[in-house]
Symmetry: C2
Subunit: 331 residues, 2 copies
Amino acid sequence: MPELRKDPITSRWVIIATERGKRPSDFSARSEHRKVEFCPFCPGNEDKTPPEVLAYRSDGRLNAPGWRLRVVPNKFPALRIEGDLNRQGEGVYDKMNGIGAHEVIIETPEHKETLATLPVEAVEDVLWSYRDRILDLKKDQRFRYILIFKNHGAQAGATLEHSHSQLIATPIVPKRVQEEVNGAQEYYQYKERCVFCDIVRQELHQRIRLIAENESFIAIAPFAARFPFETWVLPKGHDPFFEDAHKQEYMDLARILKGTLMRIDVVLTAPPYNFIIHNSPLREIEGRHYHWHLEIMPKLTQVAGFEWGSGFYINPAPPEEAAQYLREAAV
Amino acid sequence: MPELRKDPITSRWVIIATERGKRPSDFSARSEHRKVEFCPFCPGNEDKTPPEVLAYRSDGRLNAPGWRLRVVPNKFPALRIEGDLNRQGEGVYDKMNGIGAHEVIIETPEHKETLATLPVEAVEDVLWSYRDRILDLKKDQRFRYILIFKNHGAQAGATLEHSHSQLIATPIVPKRVQEEVNGAQEYYQYKERCVFCDIVRQELHQRIRLIAENESFIAIAPFAARFPFETWVLPKGHDPFFEDAHKQEYMDLARILKGTLMRIDVVLTAPPYNFIIHNSPLREIEGRHYHWHLEIMPKLTQVAGFEWGSGFYINPAPPEEAAQYLREAAV
């Protein structure tokens, strides 16, 4: 059973994968994908993953080829679905069992496609699958947050090349999420407006950091971008929860997400990247001033001592210039 | 002039290097040191760095060979020493001029040496130089924090191979530092004890995460380590400020730091790493419950979407096992 451990100074939680028991030699500085002939995410290899919890397909089969999209539990989960939290102290320290869900969304049967190259309908399917899984896992009262994210490319932490995203449901609200929720709440108390709605308004007015826009969303280079070419996709309308969006919004999100990833591929020559859906905590009333959105971070620089020590970032690419490159990309 | 920009949601500050104006092609995914024949940090090349602000040498010369250690302003500083903060709003956003100091500590004239291979007296010199620079920069009333850190190896963010550390003085207290100071203060209010002193006591009693110990310091794998083989060096005695340590303590720190880096080199085959001195903010009264220390983070894994999105970390190496490997290393 993995352990959730809390840092007694900062209250930061860490998942300690006690079972994996890696040896020092397992940490040779790899920066390439594992060179595998075999891909467990390709059709025909369904028996090489845990049984699917969701699949989109036109036949009625299970764990067999014919799917357009497939969600399976992670074969090497960071957290385990079975058991109790069993909160315990150990002197000055606090810990609990690593309870949670860890799932993989296999976005396409095609090994070489990406969210930038797939048809927009397939990207929309990916978004629907995120929603389906959130709705399902929300019922489990042990979970307080569901994080959906994508690691694309080995340098961004992906261990398999076949296009996939991941979902982790946690029994605590992660610190960074809570910080954002608190920040949005403080702003609301001070101004009686949502800080994200204010950002959307200002960016649509100034337009210097605007990358793309459609009926429901904007894509911008954020004013205080941590990383070169960091890009946020924000709904124009206020909603705390990703899973409460309307059908038209998922269609619009699929379009702007695919388009933005295409722009990033063109301008930065298909870089590794991470994206993260920033969503409200489950069932938390203070979440109503939050405004869900998606953050994309191309992996172009190394995070180093200064960033680790201070939590503030040195970004050598001004967001206004990055936005211009992305806005003018030929897509 | 670089700009300090504040994220309106989380109040996280970012340094935007407006002058560097990098183009997208400057961000090709490099993971090696720039292949340079020429090293500006080697003796004889003193005119290729800005003039030194400190040097340890037995002759009385300046900016010429003969030094044991040399501190120079960074040639490409993230922050500028001249000017006023000029705090301004821009709609919902806040910014100020990027005022600060950014210096490089060239730790040795020998291009191939590291803190693990240098004589312990040379490591002690490095610590004295940190103190000298802190004492000097502390006089500048614009600065509220001085961060000292080291990036070792290209994958840990070093752009030059020649062994060096860096110092950045900032006009704001960085968020992560403030979180730690606040955490220590809350613990003190609750328990009337220092959380770091409690950690030292518990680790010396349990010994399962202890890596090394001398009269003044312990090296441990922290209970909630974020990264495989993360190692903290903690003073046994309570002191908020690194720069207030006694001579014997710098001698003891030099020994345990060199020894710990040697252990890391042996067990992990000389990996890239970052270390950071966690020190109290300058002139801040709430800092008295803080307890300065040093955190070493070997760079063995990629930080990915989950960590960026949640701020909590998945560590595949239990600290107790990592501590055992490092404790038993043949050094």
